[in-house]
């Protein structure tokens, strides 16, 4: 009986195989830059960084590590996806000002979604690195 068998693409990566994944998580687009896709890297960097910055500008909240409400823990997990951007935000004490505008909650969502998009971007960079995606 004939069956369709998916054969993984030939691995083209050299060195540490998770470098694009980790670098892509730390700095948006850096994983794609590592694989030589600089246009994609630039677009990802601009999209994710601007989304994160807009979230802060809208008085969005940066979640701290917590063991309280489930949604707060998930918010922290999403924020963590921003890598260095999140660390810088926490270092400079951003993202917990007094809420003065109605769109501040949108800002919080912008920051979380930017982190989740960066996770997707980092995994895509990893797939490019190991040759699973062209």
């Amino acid at each position: 009986m004939a069956s369709k068998v998916q054969v993984p693409a030939k691995t083209t990566s050299q060195g540490f195989v998770y470098s694009a994944l980790i670098l892509g998580w730390l700095v948006p687009g850096a994983g794609h830059l590592l694989t030589g896709r600089w246009v994609r890297a630039l677009l990802l960097f601009v999209s994710i960084t601007v989304m994160f910055w807009l979230g802060l500008a809208m008085q969005g909240k940066l979640y701290a590590p917590n063991t309280g409400d489930v949604l707060d823990m998930l918010g922290f997990a999403g924020d963590l996806g921003n890598g260095v951007l999140y660390m810088l935000g926490r270092f400079f004490n951003l993202g917990h000002g007094a809420v003065e505008i109605a769109t501040a909650d949108y800002g919080t969502k912008f920051i979380v979604v930017a982190g989740l998009l960066n996770f997707i971007s980092a995994v895509d960079a990893h797939n490019l690195r190991i040759g699973r995606k062209a």
């Binding site: 999209s47 989304m51 807009l54 500008a57 505008i101 949108y106 979604v113 997707i120 971007s121």
Partner: protein, 59 residues
């Protein structure tokens, strides 16, 4: 401080999310652009439809 209107926030969100979806979910540049535009139109279209539905429910 940046205080956009709700619709401006939707347009910004849709634009940035669609760029990332287009790049990460497709392999060729042409397919990326097509999928990005599809995602953008879905984001904005669904928001407009949902807004009208809420307006009708409120009436």
């Amino acid at each position: 401080m940046f205080a956009p209107s709700h619709f401006t926030a939707v347009l910004l969100f849709a634009t940035f999310a669609s760029v990332v979806f287009g790049i990460t979910q497709r392999s060729t540049p042409r397919a990326m652009i097509r999928y990005g535009l599809y995602c953008w139109s879905m984001f904005v279209g669904v928001v407009i439809v949902a807004s009208w539905v809420m307006w009708l429910i409120r009436r």
